[in-house]
């Protein structure tokens, strides 16, 4: 990984800032229109979750490479309350905020790789990757 840029998530408007940054970044990497929209949507979901459930955190962007293919790696990090039951939050429709509960399971489908690690009281880190087709 040769570079890393992070966008802080503190105010509601940062959700828009992060997804716009991610769209530009993915455009530069050569993603098509549909994948740019997928990546921007995934970032929006991750950023909103940070804002809503952790208060603040950051979203970091990396360019990744793997045997000739190029991709974008996005990491959402917060030091919020963490997630107790990960399989539960990955269910479609599960929400503690009256939302659609579409965010996390949606991000998993929007991206090619999805890893989540979380510890109660310490925070959450979600890493996603999408490869240029």
């Amino acid at each position: 990984m040769d570079f890393r840029t992070c966008v802080n998530i503190q105010k509601e408007w940062d959700i828009v800032g992060a997804r716009q940054f991610g769209r530009d970044f993915s455009k530069k990497l050569g993603f098509g229109i549909v994948d740019q929209a997928r990546i921007a949507t995934a970032i929006s979901e991750l950023a909103r979750n940070i804002y809503l459930y952790a208060g603040s955190g950051k979203i970091c962007f990396d360019e990744v490479e793997n045997v000739g293919s190029r991709g974008i790696c996005i990491i959402a990090i917060d030091t919020g309350p963490g997630i107790k039951d990960i399989s539960q939050v990955m269910e479609d429709g599960y929400s503690t905020s009256g939302g659609l509960g579409a965010g996390l399971p949606g991000v998993k489908r929007l991206m090619d790789e999805f890893d989540i690690s979380s510890k109660t009281g310490e925070g959450t880190e979600i890493r996603v990757v999408k490869w240029v087709r």
């Binding site: 509601e12 408007w13 959700i15 828009v16 997804r19 716009q20 769209r23 229109i33 549909v34 740019q36 929209a37 997928r38 921007a40 949507t41 929006s44 979901e45 909103r48 479609d92 939302g99 659609l100 579409a102 965010g103 399971p105 949606g106 489908r109 929007l110």
Partner: protein
Amino acid sequence: MRIPILKLHNYLLISIQIDLDDQTAIQFQEDLLNKIHQSGATGVVIDLTSVDIIDSFIAKVLGDVVTMSDLMGAKVVLTGIQPAVAVTLIDLGIHLNEVTTALDLEQGLIKLRQELEE
């Protein structure tokens, strides 16, 4: 930021031209319901041609707008959803089944007229 709502006969027309943040989306929901109430509009077209992202929150707000407007007696049609946005909505598991959609503003108005005359 405020999204302008135009009145045309019995219809309200809205074209969303900005990247919607949560606050603007909520404000729009409130403004539209007030406008329906004031004007007695029976139909609403929300044009999304310029919207290049709809995430789960915005989808929820739009879905709620349709349901609430319906309760107030105004039929809503969403128009101009971009192909990429349609794809991401399906990835999110959001199907907007109960929502009437049309290709563009013109088709939206035709659809409204048909549905309201039935």
